[in-house]
Amino acid sequence: MEARRASRTVSDPKVRHVGFFTPDPNPQPGWNPLASDTPVSNSLSPVMIPPPRQPSDRTAAVPVPETGIRRQTGADQVPVGSYNPSESLLGSSPAPSSPSSRVGLVDGEFSEESNGWFRRSESGKYASSLPDTMVDRAPENSASAAPVLESKKSVEATGKGGKAVVEEQNEVQSSSMPLKEKTTKAERRALQEAQRAAKASGKEGNKSAAVSQGAAPVKPVKQPSQKKDGPPVSVSVSVVSFDKKGGDRPPEKERKKDVPAPRMQFDDKSRVQKAKKHAVVKQTEARNRVELFRHLPQYEHGTQLPDLESKFFQLDPVHPAIYKVGLQYLAGDISGGNARCIAMLQAFKEAIEDYSTPQEKTLARDLTAKISSYVSFFIECRPLSIGMGNAIRSLKTRITDLPLTLSESEAKAALCSDIEHFINEKIILADKVIVRHAVTKIRDGDVLLTYGSSCVVEMILLYAHEMGKQFRVVVVDSRPKLEGQALLRRLVAKGLSCTYSHINALSYVMHEVTKVFLGAASVLSNGTVYSRVGTASVAMVANAFHVPVLICCEAYKFHERVQLDSICFNELGDPDAIAKVSGRTDVNYLNNWANKENLQLLNLMYDATPSDYISMIVTDYGMIPPTSVPVIVREYRRDHVFI
């Protein structure tokens, strides 16, 4: 560990392996950064002109815009990373001992990252001021004609080269690490990082080249030097700065894609009208709406379900599997982020299996449109969770990236297996990893508090119980869903010693609690945890009592959106659920509340927990502080594309 860290600080900007990273399972002896170039260029999207790393090499591997092939068959084809999904899925489970070190890495990363921030502006200087101008590649570079273009390319090359070197070193150093899958992720990420760096710095390179063209040929040379001997600190810094640059400013096109489309605001009358025209679900707006939440959709509950059910057999564009899941959402039969996401993906899978491309249409376009219509149907049934949004996004990217050469059945099979992969890897396996991590934080004699019903937290508790740890669980619950009762029942049935209370009694029970485990619907990139309403209160009280708060959340639910309060974006539940108290006939003061002009009932579904209440987020990439969420989002977002 020590050695690794030391070397990292010298040469490795790759501290950003927040989670696990492992070497290439079968490192090829003759592997060199150049070899890695091929997949890079292949994986580039057709629009991006892949900047050659060196002219000779480039001519050999001319970027063919058939990106999809590599993606789609990536599992068996990728020469370098050898991403082997079956292996990664079944073979390895993370070493349970790793979490602490992981957290350490994260810290390391942060310091380095800030370094990168500081140095960023100077990077150009660093690069150009490197003394050893001449090494093996110089001649080739000088052969190139246009200096401006060259500078661009070469800058990119340095970035990439640096990466590659780092990659290589990593492999050598940590070849004992398990977990194949992450290596390849890391690599892929690294490659993409490099591309982005290239693009970003390309712009700057242009500029700088315009100013002083003499500097241009100097730059590329830095890379070999770094490769050869123990890299000087400045080099590593520059590398850091390069890929930081890439990370921080994605090229225009990508950036545009990154910015989430503005959500539908329901106080915008005209748009709501427009949306209504296409709606499958017949919705009537709720009366007595809360002024503060005009921008959120709120409909009368109870009318939609029978209406939709009656439509079930009039087969309109919606696939029956989709229809079924939509109904289940509407009825509340499926709830919980993971369950909803899995149900949705499986419905998509069924729909894709039954799909056939109409005449004179391409599969990619038509299927994307289909999926979009399904998604809007789901949204009508119940607003999507952020994790579902991410899953949809990755599925759509997969569809658009399908190579045109693929036959329809092949494409469908590929998509179905991708969906399966997503479910297995991003949800099921991720949960297992989270459980392994979180269990290390449970000690004998602990009193663990959990709120509501999170399936990951339940798995953690049950797993810890199976491991024979002695602890008590405090289940805190709140109206109107009372999800905690179901959790309580399951835990007690498994023999865990439980205490049940309601959210108002938090201050009373918090005295004895030693740790708080909470689930999350999403983790936003400012560290805010978006979760079942009440989570923020629990975290706040725990914070006031100096009890650590651990959030357990799969990384596919991370989102780059930021949010400060619980009002701008939320989901409204059925207000009638508030007026009626189940099992309490004596509380019936509000039986006909809808007739009262001045009374509104507000049933919020989620709230946003500020990041300073959170001690740690346990995710499938390791245990991170909330400040590291943007790192996960930034670095691993690309992975979703690959499913």
């Binding site: 503060l292 009694a505 209160s537 006031a544 309490r584 509380v587 009374l599 709230d607």
Partner: protein
């Protein structure tokens, strides 16, 4: 006085069975009970005050023991004791003043009457003045031996010269009892009207378009908000329902019938909503001497959220809720656990709950506390019937209502018996 004993036992039973809810009802009934106790107590010629105090103490002790969590009982007992002392002193000073005008020779007699045989009239007058006056550091220093001596030295001192002026004394004793009962009536009046006094201040605190959050139900809060509404202020109220009693529903209904814009939210949504709230106004169960509040369960959470968002947290409390005790571990010691059936349906969970019958300890516990303790640092303002006060000033308010000797009611001083 058997009939009084019946009344007392009846009230004690009610307290034990938690039949009386709300500190206002409790305190009013306590005061009424004590009034009848006092009126039925036969006062000896000498040391009337001591006798009354003993009688009230004996009853008060039982009442407090019946429901130690209902602090209002203890408060009222202490208030009554304080009233007796005050009335006694004011009578004494009046007498001293009268005597001082007529002749100085009666000095000795006057001293006897005031149960301070060895002290001169001037000192007694000074002592009397000092007790009527709000205590300062000086009076505290002077006062301690005097007031401590009132009930005890009297018995010994009174015997020696008691016979000489019996007629005068009987009239005086009737006067004392009468005065005390008068004062008690005033106290009961105060308790019943404290809402109005508090509500009068509403317009000073609520401005136009204010957004107010409250939790659970409190009559004081209801009156307070409605008073502001009557003064043509328009504002909206968020009411958290206050599980597991759901008194918030009741409050929301009442507010709506009075024409206020009301939104009912779940308790879990308090944190989400508090960022849009201008002020939190809540009722209290009791206010402790350090400025901490014993409040309906859930309010500590609300107070923390309010602090986080810098929202003023205002507590409305009638003066009968001011408790002269300093809390120690109030979350546990001044709390009460209610039935789990309010949280869990026994029918649904019966299969999980019978683990206790075996050798193993039960797997399932249900915690349903009634109160929360809100530490003084989370409270921005107390509004009582005497005006607004800072939490740090509560100890001083208490000095107006209670005398230092009564803080411990339960433990009878050994000399008294």
């Amino acid at each position: 006085m058997p009939d009084v004993q019946v009344l007392v036992n009846d009230f004690i039973n009610k307290l034990r069975k938690r039949k009386i809810e709300g500190s206002q009802a409790t305190s009013r009934q306590t005061a009424e009970l004590l009034r009848s106790v006092i009126s039925q107590t036969r006062v000896p010629y000498t040391n009337q005050a001591g006798a009354l105090i003993d009688a009230v103490r004996a009853v008060g002790e039982q009442l407090i023991a019946a429901n130690p969590v209902e602090l209002a009982v203890g408060n009222i007992v202490r208030r009554v004791l304080h009233i007796i002392r005050e009335e006694d002193l004011s009578l004494a000073t009046a007498a001293v003043a009268g005597l001082g005008l007529s002749s100085v020779s009666d000095d000795e007699d006057d001293a006897e009457r005031d149960n301070h045989p060895v002290l001169s009239a001037a000192v007694v007058a000074a002592a009397a003045r000092s007790t009527l006056r709000p205590p300062s550091l000086q009076t505290l220093l002077e006062d301690v031996p005097d007031s401590g001596a009132v009930p005890h030295t009297s018995s010994s001192g009174g015997d020696s010269e008691g016979k000489s002026k019996s007629a005068d004394k009987s009239s005086r004793s009737r006067k004392l009892k009468h005065d005390v009962i008068e004062a008690l009536n005033e106290l009961i009046q105060d308790i019943t009207t404290c809402h109005e006094l508090i509500a009068e201040q509403a317009v000073e605190h609520i401005h136009q378009n204010e957004v107010i959050l409250t939790l659970g139900s409190s009559r004081t809060v209801l009156e307070f908000l409605c008073a502001a509404k009557e003064k043509k202020r328009s504002f909206r109220v968020f009411v958290a329902e206050g599980a597991p009693r759901y008194q918030g529903h009741l409050l929301a209904k009442d507010l709506v019938t009075r024409g206020l814009q009301t939104t009912l939210i779940t308790d879990s949504a308090v944190f989400a909503m508090i960022s849009r709230v201008n002020m939190v106004i809540v009722g209290a169960h009791a206010v402790m001497a350090n400025g901490g509040v014993i409040a309906p369960v859930g309010l500590n959470m609300v107070a923390l959220a309010a602090q986080r968002h810098a929202v003023p947290f205002v507590v409305l409390a009638g003066s009968h809720k001011l408790c002269p005790l300093y809390p120690h571990n109030p979350e546990v010691l001044l709390n009460e656990l209610r039935s789990p059936s309010e949280l869990l349906d026994f029918g649904e969970f019966s299969d999980c709950m019978d683990f206790g019958t075996g050798t193993a300890s039960p797997l399932l516990h249900v915690v349903n506390p009634t109160f929360d303790y809100v530490p003084p640092k989370l409270v921005s303002l107390f509004i009582t019937d005497t005006g607004g006060h800072n939490p740090s000033y509560v100890y001083r308010l208490i000095a107006d209502y209670y005398s230092a000797d009564d803080l411990v009611v339960q433990q009878r001083p050994p000399t008294a018996s």
